[in-house]
């Protein structure tokens, strides 16, 4: 259920989010100055925003970067990607699904597009395998290798592979069967195995190197993070000090203003008192003058009376 919110509250949020324009910020300032209730509300929101900013962020677990770095496939568009001993997606899938406990769930998350890509590669490899097998069969059928007619006695081609252990006397010179042996696919297979093993070793070395690199980058990042946090701490301390200074200054100004005001009021009071005193003096003087005039008049009248009696 949503609650209808006032435009003023919306404005408060926009200002606290840093999304308000200067004009909007000024408008809020004016409205807060005029409305104590709005000021209280604003302070409440401000506290919540500050507290949210102070909630510590989660740290990614150690080894996350290394595990991802080791599984990074060759870039989709990069040259040389196809010459990898294994398709990139396979390497990716192997690492991802092999490490996690929730592998089957995650496999569902793969997009249809990705899955299609993986299957396309699988199909290509399967196709190549079938073609190679067919070629071997065709070669066996099509060519008549002169095996039986030129070899006498034991199976010489089998002995060829133990040549390192045999003496030279056992080598049958001029035996054409040596060249024509249909078991010629055996050294090919062994070579392929060796190549595969070399490729795997290279891949392993590559992976180790990548992990090392990732570790190094992580260490650098950690150092950077520590530096940044230190810097932020220092900035915070400086800001706090500045704020305290500003508050002190403001207090002092306020105190100064207060003292000035008190002085002015005192001065005004004094002036008022003096004016009052002057007024009182003037009135007293006037009274006295009036009294003297009255006395003079009475004296004059008495004098006149006395003169008329005489």
């Amino acid at each position: 259920m949503t609650q209808k919110h006032s435009p003023l509250t919306e404005l408060m949020h926009a200002v606290l989010d840093g999304e308000a324009s200067d004009a909007e910020a000024r408008e809020l300032e004016m409205r807060l100055a005029a409305d104590p209730a709005a000021r209280v509300e604003f302070e409440g929101w401000k506290r919540l925003f500050e507290a949210l900013g102070a909630v510590p962020k989660e740290h990614a677990p150690e080894g996350l970067v290394a595990s991802i770095a080791a599984a990074i496939p060759q870039a989709p568009g990069a040259a040389g990607g196809a010459s990898q001993p294994f398709p990139a997606q396979r390497v990716l899938g192997h690492t991802l699904f092999g490490v996690s406990r929730r592998a089957p769930i995650r496999s569902v998350t793969m997009t249809e597009q990705t899955t299609r890509r993986i299957f396309a590669h699988r199909k290509a490899w399967l196709g190549a395998g079938v073609a190679a097998a067919a070629a071997v069969v065709v070669a066996q059928v099509a060519f008549d290798f002169p095996l039986a007619k030129d070899v006498v006695g034991t199976v010489i081609p089998a002995q060829r592979y133990r040549a390192a252990q045999n003496g030279s006397e056992q080598v049958q010179l001029g035996a054409p069967a040596v060249q024509a042996a249909p078991t010629g696919t055996v050294p090919d297979a062994s070579r392929a195995l060796a190549e595969k093993s070399a490729a795997e070793s290279a891949l392993k070395a590559d992976k180790a190197q990548t992990e090392l690199k990732a570790d190094r980058m992580q260490s650098e990042l950690k150092a950077d993070r520590a530096q940044s946090e230190l810097k932020a701490d220092r900035m915070q301390t400086e800001m706090k000090a500045e704020k305290a200074q500003a508050e002190l200054k403001a207090d002092r100004m306020q105190s100064g203003l207060k003292a000035d005001r008190v002085q002015s009021e005192l001065k005004a009071d004094r002036m008022q008192t003096e004016m009052k005193a002057e007024k009182a003096q003037a009135e007293l003087k006037a009274d006295r003058m009036q009294t003297e005039m009255k006395a003079d008049k009475v004296q004059t009248e008495l004098k006149a009376d006395r003169t008329s009696q005489q």
Binding site: A51, I72, A75, P76, A79, R101, T114, M217, T237
Partner: protein
């Protein structure tokens, strides 16, 4: 007016640098992609954690996201922020997993939150307590609330960036944020 206090990069990261790294990766430099992983592992992990509320799941999703990004790096449109793109993938992956799981297992709430050491012991304790309460409160909120609060307050995304990531308009972003904060404040007041 945003405070650059979140040590891990998030919405405030250098876009040009990201684009260069993506280009380098596309031309065959896998180290460039590792650099992107190093840069974004924490915000992505945080996003996944605040949607799923479980460290294990956040770890799995972080792996999935980066590998998916590597696979699709050629689909990245440089006219958008790289962070918005990767964050959107992280949010979608997390929501997908959440939908599939639909479990209400015990949530993780074992993180010790330290106080601000520069403050006095009393204030330190109260700040840490408030942070703990906030975290606890957020853990009980709806996913959409947690998502907008995380994007805005932990990853410092603007309304515009949030709109891009969540694929909604800015007005809806504002409204959702407002409602989430109001509910969060309500929860905190209930606990007083």
């Amino acid at each position: 007016m945003r405070s650059p206090t979140f040590a891990a990069v998030a919405c405030t990261s250098d876009e040009d640098d990201d684009r260069v790294l993506v280009e380098r990766y596309l031309s065959g430099d896998r180290d460039a992609f590792t650099a992107l992983v190093v840069r974004y592992q924490r915000p992505i992990y945080n996003a996944a954690f605040w949607v799923l509320r479980r460290h294990e799941d956040a770890h799995d999703i972080s792996q999935t996201v980066f590998l998916k990004v590597a696979e699709r790096a050629d689909e990245y449109d440089p006219k958008y922020k790289f962070f918005s793109w990767i964050y959107r993938i992280a949010v979608n992956e997390s929501l997908n997993l959440l939908r599939r799981q639909r479990h209400e297992d015990k949530l993780e709430d074992d993180v010790e939150i330290a106080g601000d050491e520069s403050a006095g012991p009393e204030r330190q304790a109260s700040a840490a307590q408030l942070a703990r309460q906030l975290r606890k409160a957020m853990m009980t909120m709806a996913t959409s609330d947690r998502l907008v609060l995380t994007l805005r307050h932990f990853s410092e995304c603007s309304y515009e960036e949030m709109a891009q990531i969540l694929e909604i308009d800015e007005k809806t972003v504002k409204s959702r944020l407002f409602e989430a904060r109001r509910r969060l404040r309500g929860l905190l007041e209930d606990w007083k």
